[in-house]
Amino acid sequence: MNKPVSTGSARRPWLAIRKDLTPHRQLFLTVCSFLLPLAIWCLFSYTPFIWHPDMKLEISADRENVTVVYTAGDHVSKEFFPTIVSEVQAENVQILANREAGIEPSGSSSRIRRANQKILRHIATFAVEKGWLPRNDRENDQAIYEIWKAVATDKIPDAKRRLTNENLAIIERNWDLLSTRSDVFNSRLLPETPLEKLVPQGKAANPVYLPDPHEVLLQGWSLFTADLADDETSMSDRYFHSLRIVFFGFFLSCLIGIPIGILCGAYDFFSKLFEPFIDFFRYMPAPAFSTLLVAVFLAHDAPKIALVFVGTFFQMVLVVSNTTRLLDESLLEAAQTLGAKNLSLLRRVIIPGILPNLYNDMRILLGWSWTWLVIAELIGVKSGLTEFIETQGRWRNFDAVFPIIILIGITGFLTDQFLSTCRSYLFPWTPESAEKKRGPIGRFFAWVINRDVYVSPK
């Protein structure tokens, strides 16, 4: 018996060599291709038992006689974390033992009060993080004192959950001492015996170079919306500054590179005159010229634009001349038998004939010029998005670096998608544009571009 053969898309295999999928499936996979990396990133970030080799400190204390200081927000490896904890615990044991034995602490009482004030402040970052303390009160000793009081007297319901029992007990014991001296902060009325230190507390985290997606998102949002002091450059200014350098450099490169490339492709004379040297020159990496360019063009944007130019120009001439040479020779022969000579051949056959391929070449080269941008912005006076990436990266603020890198990626991607969409309207004769269905907007554009040749689909 023959099984009935279904022709519906449900029966068509997802994997078939060189067969196009249905538009729905194509769209689905396109969405997946972006969601998949994002999902992997989320998986690594939000599943505590996957990777997470570090502890991110939420509470950290200074230790006696230790030069390396860990503050809240720092990452330490999971192996090392217990060592800091036990060292602080050991110091606390010593403090309690001295207090018990009635041993007078060494040092003047004012020095001990200052040390105690520091110990009080150790809770500040944690309290801000948990929302108990407004960010502006981060260094407000009165407010911090109130936090100690509130935690010790159970006024903050969240505290039991957030703090370890060990730290809760320390806070209560410290508060006992503090409350006997004063109910509000007064630096003169701090205890004259050392307080116990808060034991370091942390949570499992990935290394600093892999921030969580939500951190990146929030940081990215705040980068672009934050109020800035007058002397700071806003992120959108940086962005447009970078865009200007890329497009100027690329535009200049096109302005000179395309004509030379076409001439090289069309005439052996120019090809032999220019191409050997250009071929040699392009092997000298553009960044190697950075100091030279700064010396020639001085500060500001000129050396940066020049670097993007140097990076793209030589490739462009070679790519364009090659594209020109790929034009079907028989079209040139046909044009010649129709009376076209030198200039009219160039104008009427070569240029229109290579235009669609030239357009694609330019799309690819524009992508490269973004690469040169990153180097260009580091030469001379650092500027633009790259300067920000550089400084934030140095401070290991990778949650601020990622949004900028992603922004550059999105800009390049969207530019290219835009250009690729325009292509089918600019060159309606190419087979690629025939396959695309045109909506009303597309038909309008086609009509605007070439009113007399547009053929309405029958």
Binding site: L331, E333, A334, Q336, T337, L338, G339, A340, W429, V453
Partner: protein
């Protein structure tokens, strides 16, 4: 089915009085193209190849001449030299009495591969030569329209070449070449890529155009019937090196029609051309060393 080899055919040299008169009339006309001792040698990696050797002929005004010969005998090379796309090694040719240099609008060319400009519409393609010659836009457009009408593509004037079938493309290419009003039209296997039916249509189309336009045609083909059907005379070349074997006068009367394919003169000419191009020993069936690979009982042949 009658086998042409068993039927008594007249000699292909026998011409009816009418046909004889036609040839006499052609010979009266001025010489359009005169080729004198044309030779062509290509230099390649392993030495030089002598492709054309001492080719001479005269073509009269409004004559339709075909060039046939085995593949690789230099038909395309000959026509490319005449169109100015290739230089002759020695010898010369005269067009209306002068020697042209390089390609030019006075010699039209239709290639097998269509070679329409893909970025131009049909109308703009046909206008190409007129625009190059800097004719006014209106005049060029009006003229292009006439030629497009003549090849029957009025409805497709604004279509791009990509949207046309092979036969239509070749009609545009013919219109484009003719719009320039060249004094001679070279066609290099123009219908070679078309299917049999389209090709037959294109042949009768070409004859109609030729009848109505003052144009001399040099037509390269490897299809013998096509050559006989279309031409006044047929230049038969042999390969390695390409030399003229014979310049055959076609004894089939004009106007031509597809019914003439079975006339004795037609068959006689075809037989003669076949003898010239494929000497009999070549088509003896060689026994191929094939073992029988089928189990089916019945015999296919």
């Amino acid at each position: 089915m009658s086998n042409p080899h068993t039927v008594e055919l007249p000699s292909y040299k026998e011409q009816s009085p009418e046909v004889a008169r036609h040839f006499a009339e052609i010979r009266e006309r001025p010489v359009k193209l005169e080729i004198k001792n044309l030779c062509k040698t290509f230099q390649n990696a392993n030495g030089s190849v002598n492709v054309l050797n001492d080719v001479s002929l005269k073509v009269h005004r409004r004559e339709f001449v075909s060039v046939i010969g085995p593949s690789g005998c230099g038909k395309s090379t000959l026509i490319r030299i005449l169109a100015g796309l290739e230089d002759a090694t020695s010898g010369s040719f005269l067009l209306d009495g002068d020697q042209p240099h390089g390609p030019g609008a006075d010699r039209g060319m239709v290639f097998q591969s269509y070679t329409l400009f893909p970025w131009l519409t049909v109308k703009k393609n046909v206008m190409f030569g007129l625009e190059v010659a800097e004719r006014s836009q209106q005049a060029a457009e009006a003229e292009a329209r006439e030629w497009i009408d003549l090849v029957g593509l009025t409805k497709f004037a604004d279509a791009y070449p990509r949207q046309l079938s092979g036969g239509m493309k070749q009609r545009v290419a013919i219109a484009r070449a003719l719009a320039n009003q060249p004094s001679i039209l070279f066609m290099d296997e123009p219908f070679g890529a078309l299917d049999a039916q389209t090709r037959a249509q294109m042949q009768s189309h070409l004859l109609q155009i030729w009848r109505n336009v003052d144009i001399t045609v040099l037509f390269v083909t490897h299809d013998l019937e096509e050559a006989i059907y279309l031409s006044d005379r047929i230049l038969v070349l042999k390969a390695h090196p390409g030399e003229v074997l014979e310049f055959v006068e076609v004894p089939v009367s004009r106007p031509r029609s597809p019914q003439q394919f079975l006339q004795p003169e037609f068959l006689a000419t075809k037989q003669r051309l076949e003898e010239l191009i494929h000497p009999r020993r070549d088509i003896e069936e060689e026994a191929l060393p094939i073992t029988r690979m089928t189990n089916v009982g019945d015999e296919a042949e």
